[in-house]
């Protein structure tokens, strides 16, 4: 018996101080002021917030740290920040600004020792490894890791990479299906199932959820947390609606 509630995590993609959302990592649409969104989601019962910085500029990165600091003062739930973290200095700056955990993606593939470094200095609970995966018949598991916002194929098998990340001290895997991102087709359940069976750490499902049923599927396939973005930004489904649905299906949620 776990007792632990499954977490519903709204994700805010930041570009130069605004929240944006795209489809398959492209065609970005403005979705509003980050602080306003954060407060709304906390009030709706979000269990945690994820921020993903997709700014391409140094100026954008600085704006991001300031936004995190502003939001930290206003909300009292955990914040995970990722996107473009390439060094310990980047990670430390965001943690100092008010992030509770940082997620590393491309940098972890290029230089896996950063996972150990973050875990050692800030604790394993701080070290989230984000994996963007896409279907690829050439891989043993059928899924390949891509980096640089999906632009660069790595030749790494997603399940093998997740296992290595866990061995190196990652405290959580944030697992996004590029194929499902922004499609509303639901999570890539087979991918979630394979990765959560392979690692002894929590897995967050991401990419494609648009209805309460999708969240239940993600949970039943082994995810301990369920992330979504667009459907919350467009107010298609509220967090409390999803939690009511999960609770009605005997899934532990914080209501």
């Amino acid at each position: 018996m776990s007792g632990l509630a499954v977490r519903i995590i709204p994700c805010l993609d930041f570009k130069d101080g605004r929240v944006v959302k795209g489809v398959r990592f492209e065609n970005l649409v403005d979705s509003g002021d980050p602080l306003e969104r954060a407060l709304l989601y906390e009030a709706q019962g979000a269990d945690e917030l994820a921020f993903l910085d997709i700014s391409a500029t140094v100026e954008g990165r600085k704006t991001m740290a300031k936004e995190v600091a502003r939001i930290r003062k206003a909300i009292a739930i955990p914040i995970t920040v990722g996107g473009g973290i390439a060094s310990m200095e980047d990670a430390a700056r965001l943690l100092d600004s008010g992030a509770d955990r940082v997620s590393v993606n491309s940098a972890a593939v290029r230089e896996p020792a950063i996972i150990e470094a973050i875990a050692r200095r800030f604790g394993v609970q701080c070290a989230v490894v984000a994996i963007d995966a896409t279907k690829s018949p050439a891989m043993p598991s059928g899924y390949e890791v891509k980096i640089a916002a999906g632009a660069v194929a790595t030749g790494l098998d997603a399940i093998e990479w997740a296992s290595e990340a866990a061995q190196r001290g990652a405290g959580e895997i944030l697992l996004t299906s590029i194929d499902r991102d922004g499609t509303n087709l639901g999570y890539e359940c087979n991918l979630i199932h394979l990765v959560s069976r392979a690692v002894p750490i929590p897995v967050v499902a991401s990419g494609g959820a648009s209805k309460p049923e999708h969240f239940l599927e993600g949970y039943r396939n082994g995810a301990l947390a369920l992330l979504a973005a667009g459907i919350f930004h467009r107010s298609e489904v509220s967090i409390s609606e999803i939690k009511q649905y999960l609770s009605a299906h005997n899934v532990e949620v914080r209501l």
Partner: protein, 231 residues
Amino acid sequence: MSQIRTPSLVIIETGVANLASVRALAERLGLQPIVTSDPEEVVRAPFVLLPGVGAFGPAMHKLRERGLDAAIRSRVAEGRPIAGICLGMQLFFEASEESEGVQGLRLLPGKVKRLSGGLPLPQLGWNRIEPEPGSRLLLAGWVYFANSYGVGIEQKFNDGTADTSKAAFPRFDSISIATTTYGSAFISAIEAWRDDRPVLLLCQFHPELSGSFGKNLFARWLELASERRRV
């Protein structure tokens, strides 16, 4: 002390924790957060918080290096209130499986152990705390955890069964715990009272990340632990 000054919460700087969330908690409570590694200040301050991120060994090392372990011990010996969060709770015990051979603050008997039960670790997310009957500060509710280690519920504090002979543990009038289940049960919070004040408030969870529940818990602690209640 000047009456116009905003009351402060002294947060112990261990050099390994990120402190933005606990600072924000202090501000929400109307307190000025003062982050320090000065042992004098830690002994003197009306309210002290030992935050907790990082590993047991390095955190104890930092505390010893700066004489903060002695400062915390002398605070507790004098019955002055201090709170500990997550690792900051674990450090109050004798030792931890996380860093074998490192001595903790030894203000409470027992050893911190890796959570058992075969579930994914760390435990990340919201779980319930259930206070035992007689708790005056702790209430039942949902709180946020991020831990792989904890103190097992077999640990006894008050009923004379604990082997407290080998260490000089400070005296408390009463100790109540709250428990949480993740695979197996562990102690998720402790309130220790002396002279009708909650001298210790220890939380394995993160009150600063537990929404209004955490804020209300700390507000109650600050009120009940306040110096004014003594007169």
